[in-house]
Subunit: 232 residues, 2 copies
């Protein structure tokens, strides 16, 4: 319960690796919540309540099929152990709201779900790569940023401690899914009302790495990881 | 097969965390080879052929018991997929000798075993902590370094890719066990003859983190990871 299953590493995305991947059926057989991306880095994935959604930069939204491949996915069998009702919540108050997990579990992973009315939410949809192995920072230059007001929806994602950078994205990494399943992406900023905050500490991480020629084409450099937040 | 099971992270050792831990019985139920340390960082652990040995800086050697706890252990169910007989091998020729795993699997983990006569082997036995949470770099200042000539034995350990630093020790990390089970420790340098080299690529890593108050006492800083090789 509350194990993390991760396929791929964020350092590989930085260097443009985006083929291979875990199948959706494999992920959903073990996990009910998660986030990730698809081959060619064409958009963002969010899994909420066992349903996997894919958002592309050109505003298409669809459910993933069991045979789709995900070159990067971080998912969990989410069973919250902390639940709070809050009047308001913002990106910059989230860490404080997760008391006592902070600082009591600051060196652990923490899975976070927020159900709320979003007075304002800003998110991005990245990609796609326009050539093989186009680095994530290049994609970031043409990312689509969207802002919605007064939309009901769910955020799901993870806090990853600083020492995990390179394999993970250190800090909070959240994806959005609107209640009407018409909007979603990688969260940059939010102001929420009527909030239900749920969270769980994750002490077990199961990491699977590609062993392909493409994954091993060039040695992945850890120094790139510090730029992850610029792109992600 | 050839999955890695890791308890703890090297960033935590750097900051002197060394309590809690996986039990030896739990590790040996899934793994036949590995390396690690004990509570209080009092020496080095090596697991070879399903037997776990503990070497202390004051020259004591003993088999671990099933109920012993290991605050840091990296182990695997080792089934080599690459085997080579070599006339000679040194620390600085190991990577080349592991062709074709380098560069074909340079971004994967690689488990390595070397059985040989060691014309020369230099290894260290670190610890123990003299106060709670004494950092690994402090222990390194008083580490015991030993040099043996013409000793038969086994090296076991892992290559971890650079992007894993902080959770793992990037590069090669090998522990030594003499054939007579009287000597062993963390390998710094070696010159081997009549070498049997065995290796396997590891694409699955199962990581377990402590959730204790001590583990979470201070936020672990990734910058410390760059010093891991000084201490380890």
């Amino acid at each position: 319960m509350n194990h993390i299953y991760q396929y791929g590493v964020f350092s590989a995305l930085m260097q443009g690796f985006s083929s291979d991947g875990a199948t959706v059926s494999n992920v959903l057989s073990r996990c009910n919540h998660g986030l990730g991306t698809v081959c060619g880095l064409n958009g963002e994935i969010v899994i909420v309540d066992g349903e996997a959604y894919h958002f592309t930069p050109d505003n298409q939204i669809h459910r993933l099929t069991p045979t789709d491949h995900l070159p990067m996915i971080v998912a969990t069998d989410f069973q919250p152990t902390l639940t709070k009702s809050l009047e308001t919540l913002r990106m910059d108050t989230l860490q404080k709201a997760l008391h006592p997990f902070f600082p009591t579990n600051q060196n652990n992973f923490i899975a976070v779900r927020v159900d709320a009315t979003f007075k304002k939410i800003v998110y991005r949809i990245g990609g796609p790569q326009i050539c093989p192995r186009e680095p994530l920072l290049e994609l970031a230059k043409r990312q689509v940023v969207k802002t919605y007001d007064n939309v009901a929806g769910t955020l799901f994602g993870f806090y990853s401690p600083p020492y995990t950078n390179g394999i993970c994205v250190a800090g909070f990494h959240l994806h959005f899914l609107s209640t009407d399943r018409q909007a979603g992406g990688h969260v940059l900023e939010f102001e929420a009302e009527d909030v239900e905050l749920k969270a769980a500490v994750n002490t077990h991480v199961h990491l699977e790495l590609p062993a392909s020629e493409e994954f091993n084409q060039e040695l992945m450099q850890p120094d790139l990881a510090k730029d992850l937040h610029l792109a992600e």
